[in-house]
């Protein structure tokens, strides 16, 4: 990173100067220390074992069988509403030959489960699912071996079903009886075969989600619902948005307000505590009268994309593919695409419950990473990590790094000052909008050359983005840490390396192009607070690439679907595209003025799920409405464990992406965010969601899991743009693209 300030840079003539300053960057070098989107946690100790078993090979870290034959399954991943609990139980129960009802699942808890890092990056199935399935195959084998030893029979003669081992003569032994004599505190063996897919009872079949019944009936389903004896409520007092602080807060007045029994103050961190919620909210209104000031240089008020391009950046070439050109391109085409800051926008503001008993601190949190959070909070409150336990409990859907970790730190600081009383800390709506880390604003410039036959001969992709990850790696990454006296410094941001990438996620085209360069312009000095929003840079890079593919197809006078197929070699990519086009009826669809079809495709991270989306979109200019009549997706997530869960995720991704891409954008002025609620940050409502959405799965039984949670956002964005372009003749390259 250069020492030049932005002002010096501007004076020196902008980005060109900077480009030459950062010579020969090595983007692949080094590790991303800050939660690298799911692949973090400890280093593998048993590289021969699959998934997270390579890091934690002991079987009892994953599965324990009780004397009654029931199994408890452990995962370091968290339920975020994506349905992971159900899919993991299906895997375990099927591989163990147990009924689903004989299994229970313990999710991310530093006191009980292994450290699988962050539940992010669509990694849960490949990390934890793979570990649990293979651990289950190992446990099943151990049970069979124990029975074989008892009966003095060969392992091959025995079978398992419904929680019992069965001999050829009909004798049975229950798992419970066998488990009594068996230690699962042994390492998994390599090469233990999983069940043949043809013998599966649960994997690959729609399974109702185990978490849904409580959510439909008022059960204790969220950390927000957790009620502990003697619990007190708490609220934190801050400026109106990140990048501001209060200036003249009258702490004495706060302490005298009715219903406030305590004010916790540590530096600039202020929390109010009381037995009931409503008086605290009224006290917040009093505190809201306080003056505030910005804590940063003025944010760019005008052209955000221009500001991004001028900001100091690390310029990291991530692809330099060169081949001799037989003939020069017949056409050169360029385009520039932009995305504003986007909000996670969880419907429930962030919440945590913390209890300090004088020695140990326990925190219930909807964080995506209980271990990183535990370590950061331990440093924040100056306790050894082993005296802090962080237990995941569901929150409102997060879609990445929202306020979950910050509010947990707020609860922890408050609880430390209130020993013996559980503290339930809840952010306000305005605090969630104002302080959550946003999805980065981005700029992509594309340039391509078409040969005389209409093939892409040359390609360049430049992406400018602020970071996509500021997950807690230390206490200074938590808002409360920055409010202490002296304030703790945030961890300097680093790019997430390829092949997953951050701002450059999916910036490398999957298409076969002989000459291609891709440069990631990583801007470490974010303006507004940013971190991981579902799919990171993929949403923007694929929006740009797949919009551009349609622009190139039009220039080459090719059908957009055929044009894509003609540039692909990956047979699974081609199959997903073919399948989506077929299910949509692409070849028989006829565009007409104001209404047209759009198509887009991506393989998430170029190594995850394949997803193609087709949309039938009407633009009613007079009414100012964009109507999605029909969206059809095809997805290949590898081995599909709970197909209904996959459909649910992709349906959601389509609708969420229509909102992000179509109408969203964080408003701010040079001093602070001005999107502070749902009226100043509108998202899609029922009147404007599609008439219909269909998701079709290409199942690959026995193949590796590819993840699903982030596969649909990016192609949906471009499918919308492409449909609008064909319906209106107007190419919209600046999100939000459906605002009128």
């Amino acid at each position: 990173m250069s020492v030049l300030s932005r002002r010096e840079l501007l004076a020196a003539g902008g980005v060109v100067v900077f480009f030459s300053l950062v010579a020969h960057a090595a983007p692949q070098a080094g590790e991303t220390r800050k939660g690298d989107q799911g692949a973090n946690g400890p280093k593998p100790v048993a590289p021969g074992l699959p998934g997270s078993l390579s890091k934690f090979p002991m079987l009892d870290a994953w599965i324990r069988v009780a004397p009654d034959g029931k199994a408890t399954i452990f995962t370091g991943k968290a339920e975020l509403g994506q349905g992971i609990k159900t899919a993991l139980l299906q895997l375990a129960a099927d591989e163990l030959d147990l009924p689903l009802s004989s299994t229970t699942l313990v999710t991310a808890d530093t006191g009980r489960t292994v450290n699988e890092g962050v539940t992010a990056g669509s990694h849960s199935m490949q990390d934890s699912g793979t570990a649990i399935a293979n651990a289950a195959a190992n446990v099943r084998l151990l049970l069979v071996e124990a029975a074989a030893a008892r009966w003095k029979l060969a392992v091959e003669q025995l079978g398992t079903e419904n929680g019992t081992v069965r001999a050829p003569d009909g004798r049975t032994l229950s798992y419970g009886e066998l488990a009594n004599t068996l230690s699962l505190h042994v390492a998994a063996r390599t090469g233990v075969a999983r069940k043949n897919p043809s013998k599966r009872r649960l994997i690959g079949r729609d399974q109702p989600r185990v978490d849904i019944p409580a959510k439909l009936t008022g059960g204790i389903a969220y950390v927000h619902d957790l009620t502990l004896p003697g619990m007190l409520h708490a609220r934190v007092i801050r400026g109106p948005s990140h990048g501001t602080r209060w200036t003249n807060l009258d702490v004495g007045l706060l302490a005298r307000l009715p219903g406030v029994i305590k004010v916790v103050r540590r530096g600039r961190f202020i929390a109010i505590v009381g037995p009931r919620e409503w008086p605290l909210i009224e006290a917040l209104r009093v505190a809201g009268q306080t003056k505030w000031e910005p804590t940063h240089d003025p944010w760019p008020a005008g052209d955000l994309a221009a500001a991004l391009k001028q900001a100091p950046a690390q310029n990291l070439p991530i692809l330099q593919r060169q081949a001799p050109l037989a003939i020069p391109p017949a056409q050169i085409i360029t385009a520039r695409y932009t995305r504003p800051y986007l909000m996670h926008g969880s419907i429930g503001p962030s919440c945590a419950v913390a209890l300090f008993d004088g020695e140990n601190l326990k925190i219930w949190s909807h964080s995506q990473g209980v271990y990183p959070l535990r370590d950061a909070i331990a440093a924040l409150v100056r306790l050894p990590p082993e005296r802090v336990r962080c237990i995941h409990m569901e929150g409102s859907g997060c879609y990445g790094h929202n306020g979950a970790d910050d509010v947990a730190a707020d609860a922890a600081l408050t609880a430390i000052e209130t020993p013996g009383r559980p503290i339930r800390m809840l952010w306000t709506r305005e605090q969630e909008h104002g302080w959550e880390p946003l999805g980065s604003a981005m700029l992509v410039e594309l340039k391509a050359g078409l040969d005389p036959l209409g093939h892409i001969a040359t390609w360049s992709h430049d992406v400018w983005s602020t970071p996509h990850n500021s997950r807690p790696a230390g206490p200074g990454d938590l808002i409360a840490g920055t409010e202490l006296d002296p304030p703790l410094a945030p961890t300097p941001p680093k790019p997430i390396p390829q092949p997953e990438g951050g701002g450059d996620r999916n910036a490398i085209p999957l298409y076969q192009i002989p000459n291609a360069t891709v440069v990631n312009h990583f801007i470490p000095g974010a303006f507004l607070r940013v971190s991981a929003l579902r799919s990171l840079g993929a949403h923007m890079n694929i929006f740009a690439i797949e919009s551009f593919m349609d622009e190139l197809a039009a220039a080459a006078r090719h059908d957009p679907v055929a044009f894509r197929q003609g540039h692909l070699a990956d047979s699974r990519a081609k199959e997903v595209i073919r399948f989506a086009a077929e299910q949509f009826g692409w070849s028989s669809y006829r565009d007409r003025p104001g209404r047209a079809a759009g198509f887009a495709f991506a393989r998430y991270k170029n190594l995850g799920a394949y997803c193609a989306v087709a949309m039938d979109v009407e633009v009613d200019a007079d009414a100012g409405r964009t109507i999605v009549h029909r969206a059809v997706a095809a997805v290949d997530s590898g081995d599909a464990v709970n197909p209904n869960g996959i459909r649910n995720q992709i349906e959601g991704a389509i609708v969420q992406s229509l909102s992000w891409t179509g109408i969203e954008g964080v408003a701010f002025d040079p001093q602070h965010r001005t999107s502070f609620d749902w009226s100043s940050y509108p998202i899609l409502r029922f009147a404007d969601v599609p008439r219909s959405v269909e998701v079709h799965i290409v199942n690959r039984p026995g193949q590796p899991f590819l993840g699903t949670g982030e596969a649909g956002q990016a192609p949906s964005a471009a499918a919308l743009a492409n449909a609008i372009a064909r319906a209106t003749g107007e190419r919209r390259r600046e999100m939000p693209i459906a605002r009128t």
Partner: protein, 163 residues
Amino acid sequence: MIEIEVNGAVRRLNVDPTTPLLYVLRGDLGLHAAKFGCGLGQCGACTVLLDDEPIFSCITPIAAVQARKVTTVEGLGTIEHPGAVQQAFADEQAAQCGYCIPGMMIRAEALLRRTNRPTEAEVRGALQPSLCRCGTHMRILRAVRRAARARGGGVPDPAEPVK
């Protein structure tokens, strides 16, 4: 002392009459289905029935609901014996994180009490005040249509074939 009727039971409460109903439901009565989402009447996570009308409980003072019937999701059915709307949401697996779903179910209940044959536009209009961030809208719509059928009615399917 304030008297309110919640899910058929009369409750006497000694609370500040300006307290919004939501905090009484969750804090005093231990009814957790209605959720805090915004406190501003913008997102619908807190929606409950007041008599037969959906209201934002986060901005409705407890004093305003005296002598009227409040129904929360807990009043629609239980985990063992779910009501028709709850069953329809379960059958359609109409939840991702699920945080908005109690509000959605209450709006569906209010609509279906009025008519078991709503049009698609009426269904969407009834749900319009409630936000969902996971994008579960299509399943929520399917669940409401299913619940309408379960109550002897139905909603014409809005999906149209590609022309």
